[in-house]
Amino acid sequence: MSGAAIALTIVVAVVAGTIAFGLWSVRSIPKDPVQYIVGGRSFGTILLWVLLAGEIYTSFTFLGMAGWAYGRGAPAYYIFAYGVVGYIVGYFLLPAIARVGKERGLLTAPDFFVERFGSRALGVGVAICQFVLLVPYVTLQLSGLQHILQIAGYGAYDATAAVGIAFLFVALFVFTTGLRGTAWASVIKDVLVLGAVLFAGIAIPIQFFGSHATLIDQVLRRHPGFLTLRPGTAPNGAIWYVTTVLFTGVGFFMGPQSFNAAYSARSENTLRRNAIFLPIYAGVVLLLVFFAGLSALLIVPGLTGPNADQSFLLVVQRYYPPWVIGFVAAAGALAALIPASALLLAAASLFAKNVLGEFGIATTDASRTLATRVLVLIVAGAAVVLWILQPRTLVELLLIYYNGVAQFAPATIATFVWRRITVWGAAAGMGAGLILAVVLSNANLPLWGINPGFVAMAVNAVVLVVVSLLTAKIKEPATASS
């Protein structure tokens, strides 16, 4: 057997085994939307742990952190820092969202806005925006999977068909099991990812450089200034770092899939415990990936663009036996496919409930579950088509996703801390934030180094407050328990 055959066989076996494990652990096929979409609100600490870790740390984090460490150095620290800020915000926000979800029987992220503002029209608007933001994010996972399969195949074949087939199976898996299957499959994914990064972040630096301190010494000698931030307004400099950490940290749990995860928790303390312990796991993973990226910078220098993202995989591929790259690539493939399954479910459920449902389609429990299932397949198909049509613009699409979903944060947080917010203020703030986020993400203005999403969120918050005060007499906000 050639190296590529051995490595790819391992990837296929692991992915197939994980899907089989997910199917086996679910046992019954849910027809009730609460079971299908939010796991019957019964997830304990461990299932929620793997679900949240699975949704947040995708193949892009896995490869992106290494790519940033390789290509930029110090700016990669932000990936480590914003997650921690995100968990601190999440400690307060996730239980609050879960409480509203449980008391009011919410299923999707737009449901939250319908409930808090008493406006179904706002729900439709939020649902359409979130759906449009999610599809390219799913597409991004396909692209990550393609890079990983190409490395595992030693560049010898075109992975397009394999990516399509893998994705079809994952869509059918979500179609069958819903959120519970995704959570169980995440257990295997997290164990494999941890194993892969322990190897890449500990074994590679020690084997090639003797110790991590020596690795850092050599990086500093060859690239002075690489491991400190550039000052002030420089691109990826100090101002960029501060605004990016604050902005992405506040927006960390604003993806619709995170609302679904919050609703799935058995209790509020389950979410709090996760907010405390997840950053430790995430921190270890990211730190090790950072070391792997730095090692690759010295071992295989000179890569640019998307190739930089694959740098540490290339080291594994070149210097280790095929079964090693097989397992590392399998971990990476699951890191693309499992988060994609949660994204598919979030996109399908919010479209079925908050768009189709509002227009009188599929309003009973059984038909709503069926509509969500069919939409899972449609969204998966749309993501594959988008991926085949425009694979080059993905980085811009990712920026729009991150900058876009974070724009739901000011209104979400305000419903818990500022009782004078009105539906008009929320809608105007989100609208202004989303438009600015899309425009600024693509405009390439300097903005004195400030992250464009930060600017959009600040404008969003100001518009929210001003319009709320101006429209205070028109409509009182729905004040559920806070």
Partner: protein, 61 residues
């Protein structure tokens, strides 16, 4: 008056964001890491302690 809980949450957030440009240097190296990197990693692992303390104040455990 700012509550103790809010302060406990704000300290690690500030340490990981606005404070980082103030410690943006290689020396002194700690455990072989550049100082700024050690600072960020250390606060990342300290943040859970702050959250746990907030939970205690709220009598959640």
């Amino acid at each position: 008056m700012v509550s103790l809980r809010a302060t406990l949450a704000a300290i690690p957030i500030a340490a990981l964001s606005v404070a980082v440009p103030l410690v943006n240097q290689v020396e002194p190296r700690v455990f072989g890491l550049p100082f700024v990197m050690f600072w960020i990693v250390a606060w990342g692992f300290a943040a859970p302690v702050f959250l746990w303390a907030i939970g205690r104040l709220e009598r959640r455990w």
